[in-house]
Symmetry: C2
Subunit: 227 residues, 2 copies
DNA sequence: TAGATTGTTAATCGATTAACAATC
DNA sequence: TAGATTGTTAATCGATTAACAATC
């Protein structure tokens, strides 16, 4: 007896376990929804989203259904509502102060790149060990000495760190970020870094992206479409 | 009768079909192997590579076996040989002249980033539409007007293009790259671009990477380790 | 030889697709 | 109402793991 109210919607707290690939598609749905809204659309459907991104409609519905009931049978999804829901799931419905470690070419570029500002991320402070760079302000972001990571990180409630230092320094920077209480790291250095289990990590290696493209081009015909 | 010579090793020409995830791990193996060589190692094993990267030894062997017989039972893999083999598979055993489209923050940073130079990629020319930028030389790379894409692209035998322009311009830049005979595109703009089937594409969106990290941090405990 | 390690097969696990009742 | 579209189940497909004979 008793499934009167059926099972609870439970938005954004997956009971079971979310398949790896689902979360990355969630980000793509969000990006597409934001474009749809900008273009004046109020609602969309699993088949429209699927067509735009090259996925099947079934996959879109299944992905979203992992997290709750966001659609309306016969109608589709309200863009606004779905955007809010996905942001909540991804955790980007809040403000994320971020630390940038390294102010070389890549670090400076990321400081000037406004792309992720819109998604709730905000670079609150930058760090370097070069005395020539410490004390400067780049794109409105103050550069501190790496030794000040603990203090400044705590003051700004920084939870995420971006590593944009040369490969040989990446692991030791990662260790210091962990010691400073950071919870997640995006590692732009082309090296594998090892972290405690409770620290989350995403790696971005531009050489690897190019290699994937190179493979896709070279093995074209036999293979697939790389992305 | 007759499987005397068994089946041909057939390095780097997969008869069947290479699973999607295998190729991205191949790049990680390559990166790790290069670090091992720099550290003075001459040989390695599937279990060493697996441990370094967090994969099982069986997975490492299976991934490599898609492309040929590179190891030696009882011995392991010679780092040098395996590096050569993987580079051949990925297509990075040759020179890849690359075009950078867009010389804003991100484009300039990528021009200065030496990371992928070592893997066979070389930015041969940059392009922009801003008259203030055209004619300049950034990090040794000449900036041409986008209208010169055909000519310059052909002269430099450019096969790959990196799109580092604002999102609204990305699709039209992509179209022009295709028209100029480019075969593959890395798209850094936070937008989905549509391309003919024979053009390969890899998307890199920094906001999306941060969202993946944010999700992993927020849903920590229940979930996995994001990368 | 004994110990180590590969390449490969079979078994397990997980993710995608197709189909459809429920709903608007 | 008829047409559209969801959420969900069952069937299919693909990828990972475990185990082991072959090899050095």
């Amino acid at each position: 007896m008793s499934d009167r109210k059926s099972r609870p919607p439970a938005a954004s707290s997956p009971d079971a376990a979310v398949p790896k690939a689902v979360v990355s598609r969630l980000s793509l749905y969000l990006r597409e929804l934001q474009h749809l809204v900008r273009d004046g659309h109020q609602r969309t459907s699993s088949s429209q989203l699927g067509t735009l991104l090259g996925f099947s409609d079934a996959q879109v519905r299944k992905d979203l259904a992992y997290f709750g009931h966001f659609g309306h049978p016969g109608i589709g999804y309200r863009c606004d509502d779905l955007i809010k829901a996905i942001r909540k799931i991804l955790g980007t419905d809040r403000d994320w102060p971020v630390a940038m470690i390294g102010t070389g070419n890549l670090g400076r570029a990321l400081l000037g790149y406004k792309g992720f500002t819109h998604q709730g991320f905000r670079i609150a402070a930058a760090f370097d060990v070069d005395p020539q760079r410490v004390g400067a302000t780049i794109e409105g972001v103050r550069v501190f000495h790496l030794d000040q990571l603990d203090t400044v990180g705590h003051d700004h409630k920084i939870k995420l760190g971006l590593i944009a230092v040369p490969a040989p320094a990446a692991q030791s920077v990662a260790d210091r970020l962990v010691a400073a209480g950071i919870e997640g790291i995006v590692n732009f250095a082309p090296v594998t870094i090892t972290l405690p289990d409770h620290i989350r990590q995403v790696g971005v290696d531009l050489a690897i992206e190019l290699e994937q493209l190179s493979f896709a081009v070279v093995s074209r015909g036999a293979g697939d479409g790389a992305d």
